[in-house]
């Protein structure tokens, strides 16, 4: 080497502790989300892929979601059953249980399953394609992987999340009813009669909107992590792991914000 430009030896940490790193990572994620948004209206829309992915995400999430929703509804019913008895407000068990399931439990269960089952499957699928050079090959063939693969997946996650939220609401409320009436000896009439006492239709819509946003976040994070997987099969495993963790963190933070906004926009019944 004759030129004075000696290559620097790679340092031990090499910028790994730089305070800009997390900032850069979240910036990249946000830029990716913008790319997805920009590719959304681009034709031709990958309808086939969208249907396939919707089916795929639904098939990996429906059963676990239903199975999680039943005990979730049951736990709420148990807690509320004893609480209302202590307070002497047993007639409100039904309404409180519906309220809890619709407002919080169902979007959270949906979020957990969409991120844990759907998102991880999407991330693993895209990551495996990435390390096999399939994504590069697609780009070289002049096809944008974001438009071809990511947009249908994100849309699929959103659609399935809203549908799952409906499923969880029904299963959760039914589970609550079963536990309250059959196991705790509550009266069916009181449970059903108080249904509409506290809950309102807006609660259901807020749950659906939350689920939609959760699906969006899960889809974007999973795709981003999958497309940036590297370093062989282990890299894919790491990417899946990170995608689930990041999605959870984001979902719970977003859930908090959305709930706060909801209470400002929609006053609770009876006020």
């Amino acid at each position: 080497m004759t030129d004075g430009e000696k290559p620097k030896a790679p340092g031990l940490l090499d910028g790994k502790l730089s305070p800009l790193r997390p900032l850069r990572a979240s910036g990249n994620l946000f830029a990716f989300a913008l790319d997805v948004a920009r590719s959304l209206p681009r034709r031709p829309f990958q309808f086939r892929e969208f249907v396939q992915q919707t089916w795929f995400v639904a098939s990996v999430t429906i059963l676990p979601t239903a199975l999680v929703a039943i005990p979730f509804g049951a736990v709420i019913a148990l807690q509320l059953g004893s609480l209302t008895r202590q307070l002497g407000a047993e007639s409100f068990t039904g309404s409180a249980s519906v309220l809890a399931v619709l407002r919080e439990a169902s979007p959270i269960v949906t979020a957990l399953l969409i991120a844990g089952a759907g998102g991880s499957a999407i991330c693993a699928d895209l990551g495996a394609r990435k390390i096999r050079d399939e994504i590069d090959a697609m780009e070289v063939l002049g096809i944008s992987p974001i438009q071809r693969l990511v947009v249908p997946r994100v849309l699929a996650a959103m659609v399935v999340a809203t549908l799952l939220n409906g499923l969880v609401s029904v299963v959760g409320v039914a589970g609550g009813y079963f536990f309250n009436v059959v196991l705790q000896g509550g009266t069916p009439g009181a449970y059903l009669a108080s249904f509409g006492a506290l809950a309102q239709v807006e609660d259901f819509w807020s749950g659906e909107v939350k689920a939609l946003v959760f699906g969006l976040i899960a889809g974007i994070v999973a795709s981003y992590k999958g497309l940036n997987a590297g370093g062989g099969p282990k890299g894919v495993g790491d990417a899946v792991n990170q995608s689930v963790v990041i999605t959870f963190l984001l979902l719970f933070a977003v859930n908090f914000v959305m709930t706060a906004v909801y209470f400002q926009l929609v006053p609770p019944k009876g006020q």
Binding site: R132, L141, I143
Partner: protein, 374 residues
């Protein structure tokens, strides 16, 4: 005919680690070039930079008047349609069978009917010798078949530039020989610009028109094959002879004294000629073996004549050994012209062999330089 790829002053680093810097070379249109280099010198990175998958920090890559280092994402996707890339493992889509894999670019980019697509796909599969394997999944076939299927997919949009990332890796020597013949035949048929990245010295000696060597973060040499095959540059000699003695070490560079001692020992044994046969087709000496010809029945490679004219004009730039080797490959008329210092250009033979003859360009008196497909 293929398009010219002009690379100037290209530099790429990952973080603080420099991969290569100041790489300057031109892939002449329609010719086959081979890029050699020890493992880990960033040959694959170079290929990925050429198709815009990686962004070099400095320099330019000009293809059809577009600098793909700096162009917009949208334009980049357009330029990429000129490319066919054969990835190391074929990079087939694992969820589709071979037919769908090869039909994929057609279905995405063209509005051809399904029967037209079928016809084209079967033609390309026939070209690479994969008849009857349409229904197989990539996971069910051997590595060699995956490579050929990847090649068929790369060919399906009639690319003007084809890049091969180690076409020989994981194949036995007989299959490599077939693949090399296939590459030359393809070049004769479609007259696209080829760039092959490889470690296989046998391939490097017999297939290309041009040879290059990446070493120590620089392009050590790039030029007509004769230039490298006859070169006395220690790195080039070591690589082409596949021996341990020389500047290339196992993992990093050796110090000068050690290299000198090794070279002295080698000379004492009689030099490369008596060093036996190295791995991967490396053989002793600096002989220039004849280039592979297209199979009988195929048209002559159009690039051959263009290249002969090009190197005839450059003849005075080479050292005597190289010039001698090049002269041996030139036909009489060009030799005479080269010695007289005047060149009569061959009339333009436009387009690929199946394309309609385009009207000869107006400036037929000028030497046929790089030009786009009209």
């Amino acid at each position: 005919m293929g398009v010219e790829v002009r690379v100037e002053g290209l530099t790429k680093s990952f973080g603080s680690q420099n991969i290569w810097s100041d790489v300057t070379l031109t892939l002449p249109p329609g010719e086959i070039s081979v890029l050699l280099g020890p493992s880990g010198t960033g040959k694959s990175v170079f290929l990925k930079s050429l198709v815009g998958l990686l962004k070099p920090e400095r320099g330019s890559i000009v293809i059809k008047d577009t600098d793909i280092v700096r162009t917009s994402e949208h334009r980049l996707y357009e330029v990429r349609k000129l490319f066919g890339v054969l990835f190391q493992d074929g990079a087939l889509f694992g969820s589709m069978n071979l037919f769908d894999n090869i039909a994929f670019p057609l279905r995405e980019h063209t509005r051809k009917s399904e029967s037209d697509i079928r016809w084209i796909v079967l033609e390309k599969m026939d070209m690479v010798g994969l008849q009857g394997a349409e229904g197989k999944l990539p996971g069910e076939i051997s590595g060699g078949m995956r490579k050929r299927a990847g090649l068929a997919r790369a060919l399906v949009l009639d690319p003007e530039i084809i890049l091969f990332d180690e076409p020989d890796s994981g194949l036995d020597p007989v299959r490599v020989a077939y693949l090399n013949q296939l590459i030359v035949d393809l070049n004769a048929q479609i007259d696209a610009t080829f760039l092959i990245v490889t470690h296989d010295i046998g391939t490097a000696r017999t297939v290309p028109d041009n040879l290059g060597l990446l070493f120590r973060r620089h392009l050590a040499m790039f030029g007509p094959r004769e230039q490298l095959l006859t070169s006395q540059e220690p790195v080039v000699r070591q690589f082409l002879n596949g021996r341990r003695e020389g500047p290339i070490g196992m993992s990093e560079e050796k110090d000068v004294a050690q290299v000198e001692a090794e070279m002295a020992a080698l000379e004492a044994r009689g030099g490369d000629q008596h060093n036996g046969v190295g791995p991967k087709g490396a053989s002793g000496g600096d002989a220039v073996p004849p280039q592979l010809e297209p199979s009988p029945g195929l048209p002559e490679r159009q690039a051959q004549r263009r290249r002969q004219e090009r190197v005839a004009r450059m003849l005075h730039e080479f050292d005597p050994a190289t010039a001698q080797a090049i002269r041996a490959s030139l036909p009489e008329d060009l030799l005479a012209q080269a010695d007289a210092g005047v060149f009569a250009p061959t009339p333009l033979a436009g387009g690929r062999h199946w394309a309609a003859e385009s009207a000869p360009a107006g400036g037929a008196a000028v030497l046929p330089g790089p030009r786009g497909r009209s």
